[in-house]
């Protein structure tokens, strides 16, 4: 960590009190309840949390890609190089997307156009952001497919998305995102459809790219193994809020929020008997329609006491560089 001190100090992305709502016919979903975090230049930050906790919405809010009619970011700032992205015009924003900030979407089929070949789509992304000629963009597209370990790239460029396997489509998305050497890569579950060997290669590619170009990565994933192997810092979300934030070493060694502890306990483990029941977290996530009073994890938390149901715990440093939003973190961690 010492060797990174120089670039560590430079904040690339600074998200402050970001708040996003979805408007339904008769109700409002408070998908993000004010989250704040920073990503340094060249840093890889993992974002983990229960399905539906707001990880993708965070990414889409940063890039302002939420559905126009039903969603709105109602508060906060997204400072990128000090400039608030929420204040830019749509035209300025379009230049940043896919250029300085690239995103790998969770669902490849929704972001790949089914009627164009993958080569065409990668080439187009390259052309828009670098202005090279059509033919050299196509050559580069082929190179990018090879780069993400797709065999036979010279033939695969003329594949339509449906002609590829799930993992190949995901790698096409990765190729598109990396094609323009972004400063910040937001990767939303980029390796979920990949087997472990190709996943390892793709992670290696992202790490290489990072070292070569100093790209910072916001890595949304549910795979704690991937987090452990690639990230320097981890953000844990629950019900639209950040509940814990720490270096990867601290988080795995001493999780301080009961949700994080329960999460780590649920990993299928070879030492547990096969076919046995896996530990679950009882109950389900709170409905984000009703305003949450107190700690949102209280209904499922084994440590909940009265104050938890009355007052919302804020994210605070329990130890230096290790923050948690829990009234009882100190006790829990000592126990």
């Amino acid at each position: 960590m010492q060797m990174h001190n120089t670039i560590r100090d430079e904040v690339l992305l600074d998200v402050r009190s970001l708040e996003t709502h979805f408007y339904g016919e008769e109700s409002v979903t408070h998908a993000l309840g004010g989250i704040s975090f920073q990503i340094m230049k060249g840093e890889t930050v993992g974002v983990v949390g229960e399905s539906g906790c707001g990880k993708s919405v965070t990414a889409l809010s940063i890039l302002r890609l939420l559905p126009k009619l039903t969603a709105r970011t109602v508060g906060g700032e997204v400072r990128f190089h000090g400039q608030d992205l929420l204040k830019l015009s749509e035209q300025e924003m379009r230049k940043i997307r896919g250029g300085k900030i690239a995103m790998i979407f969770q669902d490849p089929m929704t972001s790949l156009n089914p009627v164009y070949t993958v080569g065409h789509q990668i080439a187009e992304a390259i052309q828009i952001h670098t202005g090279v000629s059509r033919s050299s963009a196509l050559t580069e597209a082929e190179e990018m497919l090879r780069f993400v370990r797709i065999a036979d790239p010279e033939r695969r460029v003329s594949n339509y998305p449906y002609e590829m396997s799930g993992g190949m489509r995901q790698r096409v998305m990765i190729a598109m995102a990396l094609a323009c050497s972004p400063e910040l890569l937001i990767a939303d579950e980029p390796t979920t459809a990949l087997d472990v060997t190709i996943q390892a290669q793709i992670l290696r590619l992202i790490v290489d790219l990072k070292e070569r170009t100093g790209t910072a990565v916001m890595f949304i994933t549910h795979d704690l193994g991937v987090v452990a192997e690639t990230c320097q810092r981890v953000i844990v979300m629950y019900a639209g809020r950040i509940v814990e934030q720490a270096s990867v070493m601290d988080l795995f060694a001493r999780p301080m929020h009961p949700y994080t502890q329960a999460l780590m306990h649920s990993v299928p483990d070879r030492r547990r008997g096969r076919q046995s029941r896996l530990p679950e977290i009882p109950g389900i996530v709170p409905n984000l329609r009703d305003p949450i009073i107190g700690c949102s994890f209280a209904p499922r938390c084994p440590f909940a006491i009265d104050i938890c149901r009355e007052k919302t715990p804020v994210l605070r440093d329990i130890e230096s560089g290790h923050a948690a939003a829990c009234w009882r973190s100190e006790e829990i961690v000592c126990a």
């Binding site: 229960e50 539906g52 799930g166 993992g167 990949l194 704690l224 452990a228 192997e229």
Partner: protein, 360 residues
């Protein structure tokens, strides 16, 4: 009325997708997605399929569901070849077989609400009152850990993992005898995943559901699988009980695969040196054993002859000239034979550990 024999039997299943075909063009070659795949699944059993991206797992799933027609081979359910089924017979079989698709979003009708999506399969077979429909939807959503109010949402209004769970709820709605689950829990965080896996194991116990469970998550496979088929470039290269496979992989690819799984422990440093090798292509598969360009054990024969699946004494089958020579029943472990352990290119490189503090 169940006949004796396996619930599902697959014989020499093969699928080639023509490529380069198009208007006024002749197909010049094919993607050999699946080659001579055979296996069977008993009622109440979970057969897992693992293998590299693009090796043909989803194609096998689609062939089982008869969503694509095979180039060769047969799929038998209770001894009946599904290729010969008439429309109404196929309908009855479809009711017994459900699939969870790898790509949740494109497999969900974007114009239907979550509630409509999960009750639709049932309504294909019986009429439901509005009340019954809502009760069914609420029950299924609850089972997959979602709140009943979500039944009014469109797929686009759900998170990735919520969509995936919708696909699972839909597959469960008809209480089928067999579920083909293609990367069905890949988008779920471990706690929700645990809940879904527990649900699937419970249903299997209660109703005797069989699963064909395609997954790249070896932890999940080891936990809930009874047997595992390992595929490489369209073919099964090893098929064994879960216990045997994880305790002692025999095929060099299986061994490499198990060694590549990421481990949730940031202090663990991977030091193993990688073995160089190109990812193979099903358009232009290598001659002989498809794994030979990446296999450190490869001998001359591997470049020429496709290794047959050979039964071993512990009941598994393995396709490898070196570790499972076709001369007869084998019972050897890597250690006994003093073979080098196998690693795949890139798979085991230590991913920049230098920037993490050393914990001593």
């Amino acid at each position: 009325m169940r006949m004796s024999g396996p619930l599902l039997k697959v014989e020499d299943l093969t699928k080639h997708y023509p490529i380069g075909a198009g208007f006024l063009r002749k197909p010049f070659s094919a993607v050999r997605a699946v080659e001579d795949v055979s296996f069977s699944v008993e009622a109440g059993e979970t057969l897992c399929i693992v293998g590299e991206s693009g090796c043909g797992k989803s194609t096998v799933a689609r062939l089982l569901m008869r969503l694509v027609d095979p180039t060769g081979g047969r799929v038998l359910i209770d001894g009946t070849d599904i290729a010969g089924l008439k429309k109404h017979e196929l309908r009855a079989y479809r009711r017994r077989m459900q699939m969870v698709f790898q790509d949740p979003y494109s497999s969900l009708n974007p114009r239907l609400t979550a509630g409509q999506i999960i009750t639709e399969p049932v309504e294909n077979y019986e009429r439901l009152s509005r009340k019954q429909r809502e009760a069914l939807a609420a029950d299924l959503l609850h089972k997959v850990g979602m709140s009943p109010e979500m039944m009014h949402r469109l797929p686009s209004e759900l998170s990735g993992g919520q969509r995936q769970r919708l696909g699972i709820a839909r597959a469960l709605a008809l209480k089928p005898s067999i579920i083909i689950a293609d990367e069905a829990v890949s988008a779920l965080d471990v706690s929700v995943q645990a809940q879904i896996l527990n649900l699937l194991m419970d249903l299997q116990q209660q109703l005797g559901i069989a699963f064909v469970f395609i997954s790249h998550d070896l932890g999940v496979v080891e936990h809930l699988g009874h047997r595992v088929a390992v595929m490489y470039l369209g073919r099964i290269v090893e098929l064994a009980t879960c216990e045997a496979l994880f305790a002692q992989p025999v095929h060099p690819y299986t061994e490499a695969l198990i060694a590549s799984a990421p481990v949730p422990d940031p202090t663990r440093v991977r030091l193993e040196a990688p073995v160089a090798g190109e990812v193979p292509s099903p358009i232009n598969p290598p001659d002989g054993c498809a794994f030979h360009p990446r296999c450190p054990l490869a001998v001359e024969r591997c470049r020429i002859e496709v290794p047959p699946l050979v039964p071993m004494t512990d009941g598994r089958v393995v396709a490898c000239h070196v570790r499972a020579p076709a001369s007869g029943l084998q019972a050897q472990s890597a250690a006994e034979r003093d073979c080098p352990t196998v690693r795949l290119a890139g798979a085991n490189e230590s991913i920049r550990k230098s920037e993490k503090p050393n914990i001593t």
